[in-house]
C-alpha cells in the first residue's frame, strides 16, 4: 500500500517536507518504543509506530531503511529532528491517536508485520 493512502486514511499530519507519497510503497509495519527491539524487528520499506519523539528515531529509521515513522499521542518533535529526517529522507508523521489504535487501523488496511 502506498504511503499517501495511509496518510489519508489515518488522517496523519506531515512533519517533514512534502513529496510524492503515492510513490512510496509500505510493505509492513512495526511498533515498539525500545530502539533495540526496533533494530531487530523492523523491516525495510516499513512504517514504524512509536511515541518516542527524539532525534534518535531518525537515525534508527535511516539505518534500517524504514520509510516512515508515525509518532503517536501527539508527542512533540523538535525542529532539529525534523531537519535531520529531511536530510536522511525519513518521513515523520504525527497523530493524536495512541499507538494501539494506529496499529489496529494499519492492520485493517492490510499492513501486517510479515511482508519482508
Amino acid at each position: 500500500m502506498d504511503l499517501q493512502t495511509i496518510i489519508d486514511k489515518l488522517e496523519l499530519s506531515l512533519l517533514t517536507e512534502e513529496k510524492d507519497f503515492s510513490d512510496i510503497q509500505i510493505r509492513s509495519g512495526y511498533m515498539s518504543d525500545l530502539l533495540s527491539c526496533v533494530l531487530t524487528g523492523a523491516k525495510p520499506h516499513s512504517v514504524w509506530v512509536t511515541l518516542i519523539a527524539n532525534i534518535n528515531i531518525v537515525a534508527v529509521a535511516s539505518l534500517l531503511e524504514i520509510s516512515a515513522i508515525i509518532i503517536t499521542e501527539g508527542a512533540q518533535v523538535n525542529q532539529e529532528s525534523i531537519n535531520r529526517a529531511n536530510m536522511e529522507g525519513v518521513v515523520l508523521l504525527s497523530t493524536e491517536a495512541g499507538s494501539f489504535s494506529v496499529a489496529g487501523q494499519l492492520w485493517d488496511l492490510g499492513i501486517k508485520d510479515r511482508y519482508a
Binding site: 533495540s36 518516542i52 532525534i55 539505518l63 519482508a116
Partner: protein, 318 residues
C-alpha cells in the same frame, strides 16, 4: 540432477538460492500486471475468442473492477460439451476463489499451487482489488530473472571490490575507518553507524551484510554515548574476507560481562530509558548480528568490543 546424491556443490548452492528467492520475492515482483479480464456480461463464445486471441489459459471475471470469479479453459470445454457456448461466463466460472496478496512471498503461492488444483491465482491488494494474475510460469520466469539479476550484481560487486582489494597488491590489504564518539552526544547518535553502513555498501558488501554491520555497530555506538566516562572510538577494518568492527573506551568498564549479556539486563538511567534506550538488548543484538563477538573489559583500561563478520561464510549464505 535426478539423483540428489549426485548434486555438485555448485548446483546445490543454486537450488538453495532459488529456495531463498521464493522467500525473498513478493508476488508483486513476479505476477502479470493488468491481466485481461472478463466482464460478467461476457458470453462464453466471446471469452473463447479473447482467450484464444491472447494465448492465455484463463481469465478473472470482474464486476465494476471487483473480482467475482475466474474462468479457465476447462470451463470453456465444459460449455462446449454442453452445447451452451452462448451462456454468460458467470454460469461456468469458478466462484470459490483462492486469492493471494500482492506482498505475500512467492513461497505462499507455491504452497497454494501444490495443495490445490488451481493453475492461476488472482492477486489482490489490501482492498481486495484485482492487481494481477499469477501462474506457475510467472513464478518460474520471476525466479529466473532474479537469478540473472543476482549474477549481474555479483559481477558488479566483484568488479568494484577488485579495484580496492585486488589491484592493490600487498601481503595483507585492509581499509580502516575510524570514528570518534562523544559521551552523551545523542544528537549525533547513529551517525557513525550510518556512515559505516554506507561505506560497506560502496565497497560492494551485500545489503544483508551491511544491515547486520549497521545494527551491531549502532548498538556499540550508543553504548559509547550512554555508558562511558568520556566517549570512545569506533574502528572498522575491512578486508577481502572479513569485517572487524571494534568499539573501545577508557572506562568505567563492565563489572560483570556475563550479566551484561543477559537479555533485558540494563544499567541505563531513567532519562536514557525514556529516550527509547536501555532495553537490555544491545549486546544481545550485536551477538546475533556478527559471527564472533569478544568483549574485554576492566576498570583500569576500559572496554573493548570486537565484532567480526566473516565474509567467506556470508558469501555462501548470500
Amino acid at each position: 540432477m535426478s539423483d540428489p546424491g549426485n548434486l555438485s556443490d555448485s548446483s546445490a548452492k543454486r537450488i538453495t538460492r532459488v529456495e531463498e528467492l521464493a522467500y525473498e520475492l513478493t508476488i508483486a515482483e513476479v505476477m502479470t500486471r493488468n491481466p485481461i479480464t472478463l466482464d460478467i456480461n461476457t458470453s462464453m463464445r466471446e471469452a473463447l475468442d479473447l482467450i484464444g486471441k491472447n494465448k492465455i489459459s484463463g481469465a478473472p471475471v470482474t464486476s465494476n473492477g471487483k473480482l467475482i470469479g475466474i474462468l479457465s479453459t476447462e470451463d470453456l470445454i465444459r460449455s462446449l460439451r454442453d452445447g451452451r457456448i452462448d451462456r454468460k461466463v458467470t454460469v461456468y466460472m469458478t466462484q470459490n476463489l483462492i486469492t493471494i496478496h500482492e506482498y505475500d512471498q512467492v513461497v505462499e503461492a507455491l504452497k497454494v499451487f501444490s495443495k490445490t488444483k488451481v493453475g492461476r491465482l488472482p492477486v489482490v491488494d489490501a482492498n481486495n482489488k484485482l492487481v494481477g494474475i499469477l501462474t506457475k510460469g510467472d513464478i518460474s520466469n520471476g525466479l529466473l530473472n532474479a537469478l540473472q539479476r543476482d549474477l549481474e550484481a555479483e559481477e558488479l560487486i566483484r568488479y568494484r571490490a577488485s579495484h580496492l582489494f585486488e589491484d592493490i597488491v600487498s601481503d595483507r590489504t585492509s581499509l580502516i575507518l575510524r570514528y570518534a564518539i562523544k559521551k552523551d552526544d545523542f544528537l549525533h547518535g547513529g551517525a557513525a553507524s550510518n556512515r559505516i553502513k554506507k561505506a560497506l555498501l560502496r565497497l560492494g558488501a551485500s545489503k544483508q551484510i551491511a544491515r547486520k554491520c549497521g545494527i551491531a555497530v549502532y548498538e556499540a555506538e550508543m553504548n559509547l554515548i550512554i555508558h562511558t566516562n568520556h566517549g570512545g572510538f569506533l574502528r572498522v577494518e575491512v578486508e577481502q574476507n572479513k569485517i572487524v568492527m571494534e568499539a573501545y573506551d577508557d572506562g568505567p568498564g563492565i563489572p560483570d560481562i556475563e550479566k551484561a549479556m543477559t537479555p533485558g539486563f540494563s544499567t541505563a538511567s531513567h532519562e536514557v530509558r525514556n529516550m527509547g534506550f536501555g532495553a537490555g538488548m544491545g549486546l544481545v543484538n550485536i551477538n546475533n548480528c556478527v559471527d564472533e563477538m569478544i568483549i574485554k573489559s576492566s576498570k583500569e583500561v576500559g572496554t573493548n568490543v570486537y565484532m567480526i563478520i566473516n565474509l567467506d561464510k556470508a558469501a555462501t549464505q548470500d
